[in-house]
């Protein structure tokens, strides 16, 4: 029980940090405004995207969650360990009789909750917006999948960022690794997918061809943002990119366990 209390304490500490004054408005603008805009029945969306249900709005607005909430996870966690290490506080913490693995878990859960709770609150508010604009609400199953997938995405980014923070000897390196990972999966992954498609002999002139979509879906299994979208596509009957739910679930489990394992191992072997 005390490790959960420790997680809650870390969460409270992070939520009261000065940087939340920047993160909250950013998240609110991205999540609430995207829900407002995408739920407009007159909206003319690029790529011929048709939105005719509440879940469609939620699915489309995840592009903005990927952009803002993952950045929030990086900004909250980049100094999760490196700051304590530089100030000497980590030495005090590591000398306490708590098991290192328990401490690592508490750190992860605390930092994850600090970004997940604001996103969850804003997602609930966006439901009100969607209901007001479209007079429609997603089903409980859709809401459950959306919440779980968003929670997992933030957990993956938080664990990767804390791992980077534990490796880094200074704050700059820590945030450089975090931003690098964020840019790779959020901005550069499309370029990487196109390169892989080109090398596989699939033409990249038409990004809507079935061969390209197949390669894109496979590549998505190796990216947290991609697995997030594959999870969100599960309830959608008109989207099938040829990846089985089992493969998506396996990828989600791997993304959840591998960084966590590496992080716990790192904390267990860490010297101040």
């Amino acid at each position: 029980m005390s490790d959960f209390n420790l997680s809650l304490h870390i969460m409270k500490e992070r939520l009261s940090a000065g940087r939340m004054l920047v993160i909250w408005p950013l998240l609110a603008m991205f999540i609430l405004f995207s829900s407002w805009g995408l739920s407009d029945p007159k909206a003319n969306l690029p790529g011929g995207l048709i939105i005719d249900s509440a879940y469609d709005v939620m699915y489309a607005s995840t592009a903005f969650i990927v952009f803002s909430a993952t950045m929030g996870a990086v900004l909250i966690s980049f100094d999760g360990i490196s700051r304590d290490r530089l100030s000497g506080v980590l030495e005090v913490k590591l000398s306490q009789p708590i098991k290192r693995s328990v401490y690592a878990r508490a750190l992860l859960i605390g930092h994850w909750l600090a970004i997940f709770i604001p996103v969850l609150i804003l997602n609930l508010l966006s439901l009100v917006i969607i209901w007001y604009r479209m007079d429609d609400l997603p089903s409980l199953e859709e809401l459950f999948i959306h919440t779980i997938a968003t929670g997992l995405l933030l957990l993956w980014y938080t664990s990767i960022q804390l791992l980077a923070s534990s490796w880094a000897k200074d704050m700059g390196s820590s945030i450089a690794v975090g931003l690098g990972v964020w840019m790779l999966f959020t901005l550069l992954w499309l370029v990487l997918t196109t390169v892989v498609a080109g090398l596989s002999g699939v033409g990249v002139e038409n990004l809507n061809s079935s061969e390209y979509l197949q390669i894109q879906a496979t590549m998505d299994l190796f990216s947290p943002n991609g697995v997030y979208h594959l999870l969100l596509e599960m309830p959608l009957t008109d989207v099938d990119r040829g990846i089985s739910p089992l493969a998506t679930s396996m990828a989600a489990i791997l993304w959840s366990t591998l960084p966590l394992y590496l992080f716990i191992r790192r904390i267990e072997r860490m010297h101040p």
């Binding site: 005390s2 500490e13 940090a17 530089l86 100030s87 000497g88 506080v89 030495e91 708590i98 010297h271």
Partner: protein, 268 residues
């Protein structure tokens, strides 16, 4: 006197970057502590003295279970229950209150802890709701002491605790340590000045280059080394190494002052 903790041939080598190879991840054994035998006794104050790089901090970290050392049991978590550790010069900072910082530490110990009495003991009652950013260096030292007192430890390990304290606070600090020792708490305290510790320690352990050169009461060490009252650490080391105190300069490295075995791969 009852022994709280026995160190038998405790050794630890830091891993440092190996510049003899192009691989940036290559490490080799660096400085550390070598075959330290020491007994920490209940209710006594043991002063660790030695020059910079002697291994005082490494030995303290080893006692606190921060390293898995040779010659020590591996159950660090169980050993850490009874130990309170105050590292040297922590830069407490952030928009967190003093109480909240202490609460973090108390949550890492599996027992109910009366934070108010600890805050009162270290004289931080008026600052308990202040942000860490607003604390002076002396207040930060007090907070570090408060963290070490969380959980009523049997052994207090303190690395250069008097640094950054004004003379009044130093005196109060020493009085507090004497009080804790009288209640049966074993205290290990380090300094590179004998004069800092002379007035209140029971025993002294002289460390140099990771080795324990002498251990005992201060008069007995001085007597064994043929020194007179008032002689400090420089005279003690010079006495062991045979170097004239008048010849000591920055050009003399630790190796020059080391009378004992050289460890493979060890550098300054």
């Amino acid at each position: 006197m009852e022994t709280c903790l026995t160190l038998t041939s405790v050794s630890w080598r830091h891993k440092i970057r190996d510049f003899s190879t192009w691989k940036p991840w290559a490490k080799k054994d660096g400085p550390g502590i070598h075959s330290i035998d020491l007994k920490i006794q209940k209710g006594s104050i043991l002063g660790l003295i030695g020059p910079n790089g002697a291994g005082k901090t490494t030995l303290m970290r080893a006692i606190c279970g921060l390293y898995d050392c040779e010659g020590f049991d591996k159950s660090c978590a169980s050993r850490r229950i009874g130990i309170g550790y105050m590292p040297e010069q922590i830069r407490w900072e952030g928009r967190m209150s003093v109480r909240s910082a202490l609460q973090t530490i108390s949550l890492m110990r599996d027992k109910d802890i009366d934070l108010d009495s600890i805050i009162q003991t270290v004289g931080l009652s008026s600052k308990s709701e202040h942000y860490l950013d607003d604390l002076s260096q002396g207040m930060r030292q007090r907070l570090s002491l408060a963290c070490a007192l969380v959980g009523e430890p049997r052994i207090l390990v303190m690395d250069e605790p008097l640094n950054g304290l004004d003379p009044l606070a130093q005196r109060a600090f020493c009085n507090l340590l004497k009080d804790l020792a009288s209640k049966g708490v074993a205290i290990v305290i380090s300094s590179h000045q004998v004069s800092d510790l002379e007035s209140f320690v029971d025993r002294i352990a002289l460390l140099h280059h990771g080795q324990l050169l002498a251990e005992g009461t201060l008069p007995s060490i001085r007597q064994n080394l043929g020194l007179k009252d008032g002689d400090g650490i420089v005279e003690m080391i010079c006495s062991v190494t045979g170097i004239d105190p008048e010849d000591v300069s920055l050009e003399l490295s630790n190796d020059d002052l080391l009378p004992f075995k050289q460890h493979v791969g060890e550098e300054e």
